[in-house]
């Protein structure tokens, strides 16, 4: 366990005396380019690594550099999230690109002494190949990174997010200057429309079309909004972009504002992301200081001001109309459409809302053109998508892949498959609005259309890998609990419907399921989907429907056989030891919280069922797969072989 603290103070920014115009960008770029070969330590300062203690590592590295008289030669930069969170805290050396992982202050000192002082890379802290166990020094050779294509995340880990000059050196604000000084709004819209960029927040609406619909409305006052209210549990791509590359969001907003003719923008960020808020605040100040926000940007006469708006903790505010009500200072209840926000949005004025990741793609499209963007991905789903890969995979973290890649490549090549000894069960896609995809569908390409066919959605990009110790019924209950809690209460199908479904699922997990429950759940789900007012209710039944579709036998086992094979629902399982497999190593007896496992050393052990509280400690502790999970109907204390469900059993 480790600790992080976020410092709220803002560094002072020197205001630039005059609005910055094109030549100044080049001056900064040249100045930064001259320093390109300077030695740097890019230490990850994303939320994950900070919690792992990267600030302490930074202190240790700086001391070690001073000790070795390298203080002026090597600069330590705190970057945004690098993406490989499971191996954090981590760093990359610049310019040679060596990747060091799982650091601590001591490791920092050793790397300075070895890598920088003696010129000998330190193998001990390098990534190791999962099969050969050989160290892989270069970041680009690690499978997790090698299989990715970075567009929205192109600056992650390579710039200092709190320094605008670093961003400018990587072609930052070039696209904005082009859009403002040499393109008409129509040309900007055409470029985005031709690129086929679709909203990355979930629904996948064509971004260019949305801008066009808003741009043709004649109104003096329009708004450009950025949705950073990343509410899906298990998703953190927007957080990472805002933390690692805040200027790309601002630049995307400038271009969109030009396209639709807006002069005021809001970035709506969750209050749960203090670091993202801090970095965006710094970025806005720096952009204002350089004249990239405010009046007469790039001398084009175009004006844009951006304000950060902190969310107050309501999942439904990720929904377009609810978010706009929230900005107005009201309850975040959605309203029926039409009128659409592009006609009547914030303060009843035409507004365009795009997701953080959508904005992060925009500057690249303006620079490289629509054709370049279309060359990645598939016909209907162009470009790349960022996913937050979490759960039981070995390599979890943030990844960006082109559309059209198969789910299997993501799980196996990038995620490095399931942890040893366990087997893959399902992939949860799209958070509480999405669904669970079984192994048999893993060869499906990732596109908006193909994923919808399965009953799940691409959504904002949460991807949770489940292994055989996860219970699908309980997981469906978890998501329903979430949506029932977060339902705003305005429309009855969602408010009451999700609650009724939740109660039924809870009863099933407690062992009180009845015949006909599955059919009733399916029936209710259809009604809720059809009758709910906004996306929250319309998609809330998806996790239940997909788990019933692909894991119906698991529901049936819960109801008929009173058996949760994953051993998650405590009233629906019994634990017993397979005497043939037990080596008598006593690991289970030591782990047992109630002391109900008996047996002599090197002799098969036994669980006294009456005292077992089903904490699963023995199951986790056993290294030989001897602890078995049986049905609650299995006769207590009897020979486990009478249990007839052996074919589906999960063993530890």
């Amino acid at each position: 366990m480790s600790k992080q603290t976020i410092d709220d103070s803002l560094p002072l920014v020197q205001p630039h005396p005059l609005p910055l115009v094109q030549p100044h960008l080049n001056t900064i770029k040249e100045r930064q380019a001259a320093r390109a070969n300077n030695k740097k330590i890019m230490l990850c300062g994303g939320t994950g690594c900070l919690a792992g203690g990267s600030l302490k590592i930074k202190d240790a590295i700086e001391k070690a550099l001073e000790h070795n008289n390298l203080k002026d030669d090597v600069k330590v930069v705190m970057t945004g999230c690098n993406g490989f969170c499971a191996h954090g805290p981590l760093m990359v050396t610049h310019p040679d690109g060596v990747f060091y992982e799982q650091l601590n202050p001591e490791a920092g000192v050793k790397i300075v002494d070895g890598h920088f002082a003696k010129g000998q890379p330190v193998e001990r802290y390098m990534y190791r190949d999962t099969v050969t166990r050989k160290p892989v020094p270069k970041l680009n050779d690690i499978p997790f990174f090698r299989n990715q294509t970075l567009v929205a995340l192109r600056n992650r880990g390579v710039i200092d997010p709190e320094d605008i000059d670093d961003y400018i050196a990587r072609d930052g604000y070039v696209a904005a200057s082009r859009a403002l000084t040499s393109m008409t709004p129509k040309e900007v819209i055409r470029e985005i429309k031709d690129s086929g960029l679709r909203g990355r927040g979930g629904a996948g609406f064509l971004t260019g079309l949305k801008w066009e619909l808003c741009s043709v409305v004649v109104q003096d006052e329009k708004y450009i909004l950025c949705n950073g209210d990343e509410g899906d549990p298990g998703a953190f791509m927007d957080r990472s972009i805002m933390e690692a590359d805040p200027h790309v969001v601002i630049e995307g907003m400038i271009i969109a504002a030009k396209a639709i003719g807006a002069h005021y923008g809001y970035i709506y960020v969750r209050a749960e992301y203090p670091l993202a808020v801090k970095r965006l605040r710094i970025a806005i100040k720096q952009a204002e200081g350089y004249g990239l926000l405010g009046r007469d940007i790039f001398g084009s006469g175009f004006e844009l001001n951006i304000e950060i708006y902190l969310g107050a903790g309501a999942y439904v505010c990720g929904e377009e109309t609810a978010l706009m009500r929230s900005i107005e200072g009201k309850r975040g209840s959605p309203i029926p459409r039409p009128p659409f926000p592009v006609h009547k949005g914030v303060w009843d004025k035409p507004s365009v809302l795009n997701n953080v990741e959508t904005f992060a793609n925009v500057p690249q499209i303006i620079i490289h053109g629509a054709q370049w963007f279309k060359s990645m991905g598939t016909q209907k789903s162009a470009g790349t998508k960022v996913f937050a890969l979490t759960g039981a995979a070995q390599n979890t973290g943030l990844i960006e892949v082109p559309f059209g890649i198969t789910l299997r490549r993501i799980v196996e090549d990038i995620g490095g498959s399931i942890k040893k000894g366990r087997s893959f069960k399902a992939l949860q896609l799209g958070g509480p609005s999405g669904g669970c995809i079984p192994e048999s569908l893993l060869d499906l390409p990732v596109t908006y259309e193909d994923i919808v066919q399965t009953g799940a959605i691409v959504g904002s990009g949460g991807m949770v890998v489940m292994d055989d110790t996860n219970c699908m019924v309980n997981l469906a209950r978890f998501f329903l609990e979430f949506t029932a809690h977060e339902s705003c209460g305005k429309c009855t199908p969602c408010r009451v419907g999700t609650r009724v479904m939740l109660n039924m699922l809870t009863e099933i997990t407690l062992g009180n399921g009845r015949e006909g429950d599955i059919e009733l759940l399916e029936d209710l789900a259809g009604d809720i989907k059809a009758a709910s007012l906004c996306g929250l209710g319309q998609t809330a039944p998806n996790p239940v429907l997909t788990t019933i579709k692909y894991f119906r036998s698991e529901y049936e086992a819960h109801i008929r056989d009173r058996w949760c094979y994953a051993g998650v629902c405590r009233t629906l399982c019994t634990f017993h030891i397979d005497e043939g497999k037990c080596t008598g190593c006593t690991a289970c007896a030591r782990a047992c919280s109630t002391g109900c496992i008996v047996g002599d050393k090197k002799q098969p052990h036994r669980i006294i069922q009456g005292r077992c509280v089903k904490c699963r400690s023995c199951f986790t502790a056993c290294k030989f797969g001897a602890v078995k999970i049986g049905s609650a109907l299995a006769t207590i204390g009897s020979d486990p072989s009478i249990n007839t469900f052996n074919d589906q059993e999960v063993s530890s």
Binding site: M1, S2, K3, Q4, T5, I6, T47, G48, L50, A51, G52, C85, A86, G88, E230, G231, D232, P233, G234, A235, F236, R239, S240, A271, E272, Y273, P274, L310, G311, A312, G313, A314, Y315, S326, I327, E328, G329, K330, R331, G332, W347, A388, T390, G391, A392, T396, G397, Q428, G431, G462, V464, M466, N470, L475, F478, F479, F482, E486, C488
Partner: protein
């Protein structure tokens, strides 16, 4: 003035007689026969003084004192014991207790010792409630600052909550007046967003992440353990006002799952069995 006293002894006669004597002095006395029961009561109620025996079955007095010192360092402790051997005496004194009273003792000796102990200040100051009484003027100043801004109600409420720690009905009325909006509208917003609370928070706010990645890594067990350690349920505050316990829906640090956040500090890869260690940073 009567004070709250807890007597712990495995001998029921001692507990009853102590209670009778101290009740006569106007104190509120509760008695239990084991350290285990004592710990449960200390988690739930506020006491001014603990009187404990040393030699008790399962958990002995020394262990109880250690636990109290770790978790409730401001509690005064009087040790009563019949086996006042030098070793026991040394162990007990080493544990930073207030007084030592060898058994058997006369009622008056008990009364004198108790009164003497209660007249001394607690070993460490009692944790303070966030703020009970707020400054109306500074609250109005916030509303004035935002009065020209459209849709500023949520921002005003966020600042007000930072000032007071929570949003009691009285504060909502003042805000409504300052913002020239109906109280019902202010309440509608406060009750809608999970960030706003109408109950005071503890000095440290403990939030357990229940996002999907944390959930599949058994964050619910962490919640159960924390509820046990703190003796409160989710959404409640410990009686010493030190901790409040909440659920948070994903803080986006899924690579570190399961995660617990205490104020601005994030703890990753938390072991459910070791939640008490995490809280020690703050005690």
């Amino acid at each position: 003035m009567g004070r709250n006293i807890l007597v712990v002894d495995d001998d029921e006669i001692i507990v009853r007689s102590c209670a009778a004597v101290l009740n006569g002095e106007g104190h509120e006395v509760s008695g239990v026969l084991s350290a285990k029961e004592a710990m449960n009561l200390i988690k739930k109620n506020t006491y001014d003084l603990i009187i404990t025996d040393i030699i008790m079955p399962t958990i002995d007095g020394l262990e109880l004192i250690k636990w109290v010192n770790d978790n409730y360092p401001y509690l005064r402790i009087i040790v009563i014991t019949g086996f006042s051997s030098k070793a026991v005496l040394r162990d007990a004194i080493a544990l930073d207790i207030s007084e030592f009273l060898p058994k058997p003792f006369f009622p008056q000796m008990l009364i004198d010792t108790v009164n003497k102990t209660l007249s001394t200040p607690p070993k460490v100051p009692l944790p303070q409630k966030s703020v009970e009484i707020f400054d109306t003027e500074s609250l109005l100043a916030i509303t004035r600052r935002y009065s020209k801004k459209r849709g500023a109600l949520i921002m005003v409420l966020q600042e007000a909550q930072e000032l007071i720690g929570y949003l009691p009905a009285s504060a909502q009325k003042i805000i409504a007046k300052g913002m020239k909006t109906p109280v019902s509208e202010v309440y509608a917003v406060v009750s809608f967003y999970s960030f706003f609370t109408m109950k005071p928070m503890g000095k440290y706010n403990v939030r357990v992440c229940q996002g999907t990645a944390c959930y599949v890594k058994r964050a619910n067990e962490i919640m159960e353990h924390l509820q046990d350690d703190l003796g409160i349920k989710e959404g409640e505050i410990t009686h010493d006002n030190l901790f409040s316990l909440e659920t948070v829906r994903c803080i986006g640090a899924c690579g570190l799952a399961p995660v617990v956040v205490v104020d601005n500090d994030t703890f990753g890869k938390v072991d459910p069995a070791k939640t008490n260690e995490l809280l020690k940073h703050y005690r």
